[in-house]
């Protein structure tokens, strides 16, 4: 078994399965905090998928995109939590 087949037929399906599981929680989530948490986890799993795809395609340039996605995910999480807290205070 070479590396390419292993990544393609084991690692990527595992990441896909975890994306589906987190997305179920994203749809179900009772409160809005659950949705923010699962969105954060979706961004992080996407980052791992980008890393695996960059190994598969042999393109280190994709890791720059991973860095930007990590930055945007952190920023969106901070913005969501700030919004939640401010909304509660104004009521």
């Amino acid at each position: 078994m070479n590396l390419e087949n292993y990544l393609l037929y084991f690692i990527l399906p595992v990441l896909t399965l975890s994306t589906i599981l987190v997305f179920i929680r994203f749809l179900k989530g009772p409160s809005i905090a659950d949705r923010v948490i699962s969105f954060d986890l979706l961004v992080i799993i996407g980052l791992g998928t980008i890393a695996v795809v960059s190994i598969l395609a042999d393109q280190p340039t994709f890791l720059d995109i991973a860095m930007i996605v990590a930055l945007i995910g952190f920023l969106s999480t901070v913005a969501f939590s700030y919004y939640l807290e401010k909304r509660q205070r104004n009521d």
Binding site: L7, R25, S38
Partner: protein
């Protein structure tokens, strides 16, 4: 040889991410879900990125990957703290089998600042007893 190292790192990372996903789906409470997410997912992504660093094995790519891992490791606790603080203010429910909520009544409702001086009466009385014991020991 290096393929086997990459396989080991990617497998451990993918399994950690899968455990984080199962934990997010199965845990009963916002706070428990967050505790699972932050640790396991950060570990998993770090391991997958280390596998990518072994695959490319160039100085530029490795330093970039170290920068990404450092960024994730620094920002994951910060974002987790912010979410859990906001979800405590919007009164997300604790799990029904939770034993104690130590922050109950400690946050000011208007300013959202944490107070440690205005303790409830029971805690304050315990504290004075402890201080008296300490003075007796001295």
């Amino acid at each position: 040889m290096i393929d086997i190292i990459i396989m080991i790192f990617c497998t451990l990372g993918a399994l950690a991410v899968l455990l984080a996903a199962i934990g997010v789906l199965r845990m009963p409470d916002v706070y428990l879900r967050l505790s699972v997410t932050t640790k396991a997912a950060t570990l998993g992504i770090g391991l997958i990125l280390v596998g990518a660093a072994f695959h490319f094995s160039e100085v530029g790519v490795t330093s970039r990957i170290i920068a990404i891992i450092f960024f994730i490791t620094v920002t994951a606790p910060v974002s987790a703290y912010l979410i859990v603080r906001a979800s405590y203010f919007i009164k997300a429910k604790l799990w029904e089998h939770s034993i104690v909520d130590e922050l109950n009544g400690m946050y000011d409702k208007k300013t959202h600042s944490l107070s440690s001086t205005d303790l409830p009466d029971e805690v304050a009385s315990h504290r004075t007893d402890d201080e008296e014991e300490i003075e007796e020991i001295k």
